[in-house]
């Protein structure tokens, strides 16, 4: 089972990922996709004892309350290794560097190129599709 967590304050994005991933992971069949509108909710979920191991976290940067960078910092405290993709509406080298420094595996800009995302997932999650 592949367990993917999505954090974005725009609900339609969740739907988009859901539909795209459904198609992408169709052959694997076993995909657990959990979406959150806020980073705080996401952290609460990750901290829960009964949460199964997470394979990937996809997070937006610009969110109210807690942004993507803060979330990344907290996630790294919980789990230093879990793949973390930072998604930004703005292509900025500053954001990119910061994300890298904090330990994000990848920095993707919106609109997400799903073909590129698929290739990345294949590499990072060792998928053989």
């Amino acid at each position: 089972m592949i367990h993917i967590v999505i954090v974005d304050d725009e609900a339609d994005t969740h739907l988009l990922y859901k539909l795209k991933f459904k198609k992408f992971f169709a052959s694997l069949g076993d995909l657990k996709l959990v979406s959150f509108l806020s980073a705080v909710d996401c952290l609460n979920y990750l901290r829960r004892e009964d949460t199964p191991p997470v394979d990937l976290i996809l997070s937006d940067i610009n969110m109210p309350e807690m942004d993507g960078f803060e979330l990344l910092q907290e996630v790294r405290k919980l789990n230093p290794k879990v793949p973390f993709y930072m998604i930004s509406a703005y292509e900025s080298s500053e954001f990119r560097n910061r994300a890298e420094q904090l330990g994000a595996q990848r920095f993707l800009s919106k609109p997400v190129d799903f073909n590129a995302l698929g290739e990345a997932l294949k590499t990072d999650l060792n998928l053989s599709l």
């Binding site: 304050d9 725009e10 339609d12 988009l16 539909l19 609109p111």
Partner: protein, 507 residues
């Protein structure tokens, strides 16, 4: 100076005062001295007179007793004649055996100096006769009285003459010159004409000369001081003129600077406009790109999907984001003035009510929100020339923001009662529309930025941040203004003011 200047009748002149004072003092002194002299003289004469009695007693009475004893009347008469010739003896009467032997002169019963001598026999002390003697004291008094009067008259006259002489002398020596000095000072108060007194030549300087010298010196100093003052005045005037000129020059350069600043300001505004146009374009592009991505991605999914439920869901999302794009484009069109609204006289109260109803009904779609308590304070016949569709849009935007602010406060504050007050009024040539809510307020730091495009506090997809920008532009399109005041956490009030008669300004 209306005083009579005649020398004689100047009652207030120094000379007259001197005259009266001298006369009074000298008269009083003369009176005292003369009186003393006369009293002394009188006393002396009176003593001399009294002396007659002792002469009679010592020298005459014995021989008279002898002659009486011998009754030698001839000798007695000779003796008595001699007696009567004594100075001051006014009455003599010799009596013997109650018979008057001799009587001469007049007797005065009031006379005090009457004295009776008894003529005694030398050996037997037998009274032979009596001698009555009266001295002429009355005459003496009269004599002195007359003399006193004469002396007084003489002295008074003498003093008067002296005093008049003094008067003229003093007049001549002092008063005339003092008058001259006064006249001179009166007629030449400031010029340098020297004061010179018309006096006979003399070597030693007296008080008047010193006075004149002092006055002349003082006048020279005064003239000099006046000259200095005039010079100072002139310098001052020159200074004032210079300063005024300087100020004028400075003013001119200030005006010039102001003009330059204004021109720079205009340039800056134009540049700012261009810059904001650039950033606006970027913002618009960004704002449109977001929903457009959704549209693109979801449409792509749509082509591949076969699940009816999924297709419906995707279609809804596509529609929603297409609407967002549409909304943005519409706002942009209003901002750029490419809308087809027409200007006509409109009942503002109607527009206001419609705007509220429209906003509420738009929100009611899919929202569980309870409308706030609305209070209308609408003025009578509030009419203005307006682009009704635009105005409706502007007011809707403001009301929508107000409701949004109320909604946020409802969520965070328990027991909060949302209130919205919508007022209209005619103020002078303008119509004022006020929309006031008791919502969360606007942070003061935002200021006029609330009117900037794409500034929003709403969640993604709820608003593009163009509402107030559009409202502001619509107010401007009407030749009016949109202003707001707010207390963060308490209330916000937007006031739109538009002229009743629109005058299109071509800029």
């Amino acid at each position: 100076m209306t005083r009579n200047d005649s020398n004689w009748v100047r009652t207030n002149s120094l000379s007259l005062k001197l005259l009266i004072a001298t006369w009074a003092v000298s008269s009083f002194a003369t009176l005292l001295l003369t009186a003393a002299q006369l009293i002394l003289d009188y006393q002396k004469d009176f003593d001399k007179l009294q002396n007659n009695f002792s002469i009679i007693k010592n020298s005459y009475l014995d021989s008279m007793a002898e002659h009486l004893w011998s009754y030698d009347t001839r000798l007695l008469e000779i003796q008595l004649d001699g007696l009567s010739r004594l100075q001051g003896v006014s009455y003599l009467k010799l009596m013997a055996d109650n018979k008057t032997i001799y009587e001469i002169g007049k007797t005065d019963p009031a006379e005090e100096s009457h004295r009776r001598f008894e003529i005694l026999h030398k050996n037997t002390n037998e009274v032979l006769g009596t001698l009555d003697v009266e001295l002429d004291v009355r005459n003496l008094r009269e004599k002195y009285f007359h003399e006193a009067i004469w002396i007084f008259i003489r002295q008074a006259a003498k003093t008067l003459v002296v005093v008049f002489c003094l008067y003229f002398i003093f007049n001549r020596i002092v008063v005339v010159h003092i008058k001259h000095i006064a006249e001179h000072l009166k007629s030449h108060p400031k010029d340098a004409v020297d004061l010179r007194l018309n006096r006979p030549r003399h070597e030693e300087k007296d008080e008047l000369d010193i006075l004149v010298d002092s006055i002349n010196k003082f006048k020279i100093e005064l003239v000099e001081a006046n000259k200095q003052l005039a010079l100072l005045n002139q310098a001052l005037e020159q200074k004032v003129t210079d300063r005024t000129r300087e100020l004028t020059t400075k003013n001119q350069s200030l005006e010039k600077a102001m003009f330059q600043i204004k021109r720079m300001q205009a340039t800056l505004v134009a540049q700012e406009k261009l810059a904001s146009l650039g950033s606006l374009t970027a913002s618009v592009a960004h704002e449109i790109r977001n929903p457009l991505n959704f549209v693109l991605n979801f449409s792509e999914l749509l082509t591949e999907s076969e699940d009816t439920e999924e297709i419906r869901e995707i279609s809804r999302v596509v529609l929603k984001h297409s609407q967002r794009i549409d909304q943005i484009v519409r706002s942009m069109q209003i901002l750029s003035g490419y809308d087809s609204d027409i200007l006509e006289t409109t009942d503002i109260n109607e527009i206001v009510k419609k705007a509220y109803q429209q906003t509420i009904s738009n929100r009611a779609l899919g929202s569980s929100y309870i409308p706030p308590k609305v209070t209308y304070r609408l003025g009578d016949s509030v009419q203005a020339q307006a682009y009704s569709i635009s105005l409706l849009r502007a007011l809707s935007n403001i009301i929508d923001n107000a409701i949004h602010a109320l909604e946020k406060k409802v969520l965070t504050e328990k027991g909060f009662e949302p209130e919205l007050t919508i007022s209209t009024a005619v103020r002078g040539d303008n119509v004022e529309i006020s929309i006031r809510d008791n919502g969360i307020g606007i942070p003061a730091i935002l200021g006029e930025k609330v009117f900037d495009p794409f500034l929003t506090t709403k969640a993604p997809g709820e608003g593009a941040g163009l509402g107030l920008t559009v409202a502001f532009n619509i107010a401007q399109k009407h030749g009016g203004t949109l202003k707001y005041s707010s207390e963060f956490g308490q209330w916000t009030e937007f006031v739109m003011s538009i002229p009743m008669v629109h005058e299109r300004i071509h800029t």
